[in-house]
């Protein structure tokens, strides 16, 4: 049992280490080789040649004239100390920019994911109980339509109608900039109002898939023997529905949840661009468009670490719910 947690925790660090190495490698892959573009840019700004290397070293924590292994070690050590270099376009530490942006992205992703799962699970369970009814048919059809709409299409449509045509909700930003006090109720309401559309567009297109998955699982569980036995034992319908059916139907959706988290965190690049919502995704895109390599790698690294930690938490809670997970993964070799 303890062994499992230790191994799982170790894997988090190994993965983060791997991703850090990957970003180091990617910087070298980028067009123009390492820092060529930046060097030209600095020289054009009239920076003397001997200062250019020094400036680059300050920006990315890497001395361009050092051998590759030295560069790698320097990069890894400073990244481990949360020093992600300096943004070229903002002339600010990347870590500071990221720290400001990350909460907004996490807010949108977590809120929409919770909403999507809650609504999807309830809807799917109701459908399974009323299998074959008119409600089931209509909801299933709507779910299929929902699955074929990408979230950015939903986002653009919501923006078009709710913000521009009807003027109900703001179209961009994270909160009303005129509110000074960040701990007031007004501010909280404005955060919700500004976040409503991004969260909504992420939620509505995801519900369908979850509802269909929950419906399928529930129908399968309803046919199992232990449900029959529970009914024969005279347990109440509510108890059967929650303890026996819902629990066993939700468990298989957990793995899907892990993958989904990755897609949703990555998708913020598009979502935040549409709503001009300054989270990690918007900064990443911004950095890509202006060749701000330290910024680009910093945001990429932080999005990945957020995903790794999210999956880690989900894995740990999963093993609490389903005892089979931590006990055995013995697969003998053929």
């Amino acid at each position: 049992m303890v062994n499992y947690y230790v191994r799982r925790t170790a894997r988090v660090f190994v993965t983060i280490f791997g991703v850090m190495s990957l970003t180091f490698g990617l910087i070298r892959l980028l067009p123009g080789g390492p820092f060529t573009q930046l060097r030209v840019q600095l020289q054009r700004q009239g920076v003397p040649a001997e200062q250019v290397n020094e400036q680059i070293a300050n920006l990315q924590n890497v001395r361009p004239d050092a051998p590759l292994w030295q560069q790698y070690i320097d990069y890894m050590i400073s990244a481990a100390q949360l020093d992600l270099g300096t943004s070229i376009q903002y002339s600010e530490p990347v870590a500071a920019v990221v720290a400001e942006a990350a909460p907004w992205t996490i807010f949108v992703v977590v809120m929409s994911t919770i909403l999507m799962f809650a609504i999807g699970i309830v809807l799917g369970a109701v459908q399974a109980y009323w299998e074959g009814s008119k409600f089931d048919t209509i909801t299933s059809s709507l779910s299929i339509v929902g699955m074929s709409i990408p979230f950015y299409v939903a986002a653009i449509l919501l923006l078009l109608f709710v913000s521009y045509r009807w003027g109900l909700l703001p179209a961009s930003g994270t909160a009303n900039p005129n509110i000074e006090n960040h701990w007031s109720l007004d501010y909280a309401i404005s955060v919700l109002r500004y976040g409503a559309l991004p969260i909504l567009s992420y939620t509505i297109v995801g519900i369908g898939g979850q509802a269909l998955a929950m419906r399928g699982n529930s129908i399968q569980v309803l046919g199992e023997d232990f449900v029959e036995v529970a009914r024969l034992r005279g347990l109440s319908d509510g108890r059967i529905a929650l303890r026996y059916v819902a629990r066993n139907a939700i468990l298989p959706m957990y793995t899907g949840f892990l993958l989904l988290l990755g897609f949703r965190l990555g998708g913020t690049v598009i979502l935040e661009q549409i709503f001009n919502y300054p989270g990690l995704g918007l900064y990443l895109l911004d950095a890509v468009n202006s060749n701000d390599y330290p910024m680009m790698m910093g945001t990429f690294l932080v999005i990945t670490v957020a995903l790794v930690i999210g999956v880690y938490i989900a894995d740990l809670t999963y093993s609490l719910i389903d005892p089979r997970i931590s006990s055995g993964d013995s697969s003998e070799a053929y």
Partner: protein, 342 residues
């Protein structure tokens, strides 16, 4: 759920069935072809056609193939600026059914001529993602031990990287223009999750008696995988192929929309981005500019999902046997059990 379907290596039921060579010569090629046709094409086609979703999905997909055909054969004009009056709405002028842009480009032309590339991209993405997942998943699940550990560690690593940001960085690194290459890049880490779930399916299949029989006969790993394991995974793989294809459309349109993928001819995502840049969100007369590419995107995704749902039924053994008229009673019985719960 895995339908237990007899595979080629254990299907002959009469005579010395373990001597697969001799039974092979007993059947003429014509018989084999006929049986293959009955089993793999005729019966599934009947089941599939009975499902409304497959019919609609197939119809939609045919429409897209027809559109691609129109483009390849050059039956519709090429898009160019000032070829039409500006900002005609949808269905206002039948020479330009979907309307025109603010620079006088025929939207129909722009969207139609992007279709062949998108279909190629979607096919490439789907084949790459599912193909790699099948190889990794079956090998890891069947071999177990160290092979399993190594392959699953690699998949876990890829699963830990959020897809789109990685694709964006790869896109600016390689500047892919070939649609097939774009499709592969877009699904660069999509296979990992699918490979993992395939592995867990293989873990149950590899204990089945016919797999064990093949193993005791000394059949090679790859032959067992090809003949015994993969056929049983086909339903799951087919459905997931559809999902991978859908992901490829979504990702491709999204990244063209962001402007991180290079292009020579505008694709659906580029059309969408240009519409947004030109204020189609505020100008009511330009709204059709946004709606038209959306119809193309959602329509293709819908076609794929309907096909996937229909195919899921085809591979569901309960439905198959009911169609063959073998065990009507079991199927009925199952339905009453679920109904009885209410």
């Amino acid at each position: 759920m895995i339908p237990v379907k007899h595979t080629e290596s254990d299907s002959p039921t009469e005579g010395l069935d373990w001597q697969s060579e001799s039974t092979g010569t007993d059947m003429t090629r014509g018989d084999r072809l006929r049986e293959f046709y009955e089993r793999s094409i005729y019966e599934p086609a009947i089941v599939a056609w009975a499902d409304l979703r497959t019919r609609v999905g197939l119809l939609l997909l045919t429409v897209y193939l027809a559109i691609a055909g129109v483009s390849v054969l050059g039956l519709w004009r090429e898009p160019s600026t000032s070829q039409a009056p500006r900002l005609i709405g949808m269905f206002e002028n039948w020479s330009y059914p979907l309307g025109t842009t603010s620079s006088g480009v025929d939207l129909t032309a722009e969207l139609v001529h992007a279709t062949p590339d998108i279909l190629l991209m979607v096919l490439a993405g789907g084949v790459w993602a599912t193909g790699l997942a099948v190889i990794v998943g079956t090998l890891a699940g069947y071999k177990g031990g160290r092979v399993d550990n190594v392959l699953m560690s690699i998949s876990d690593f890829f699963m830990a990287i959020p897809g789109l940001p990685l694709v964006i960085i790869l896109a600016i690194t390689f500047s892919p223009e070939n649609p097939i290459f774009v499709g592969v890049i877009l699904t660069i880490n999509y296979w990992a999750g699918l490979g993992r779930s395939l592995r867990s399916q293989v873990l149950t299949i590899r204990e089945d008696s016919y797999v064990e029989a093949s193993r005791t006969m000394g059949t090679g790993t790859f032959r067992i995988l090809r003949k015994d394991v993969i056929p049983n995974l086909m339903p799951y793989v087919t459905v997931n192929f559809v999902f991978a294809a859908r992901y490829t459309i979504f990702a491709s349109v999204g990244l063209y929309f962001l402007g991180v993928l290079p292009y020579s001819d505008p694709t659906w995502g580029v059309t969408l981005a240009r519409a947004q840049e030109n204020g189609a969100l505020f100008v009511p007369e330009a709204a059709h500019w946004l709606i038209a590419p959306m119809i193309f995107i959602v329509g293709l995704a819908l076609a794929l999902i309907l096909m996937g749902q229909g195919l899921d039924r085809v591979f569901n053994p309960r439905v198959r046997t009911r169609m063959a008229g073998e065990s009507e009673s079991t199927a009925e019985g199952d339905e009453t059990t679920t109904k009885g719960m209410i």
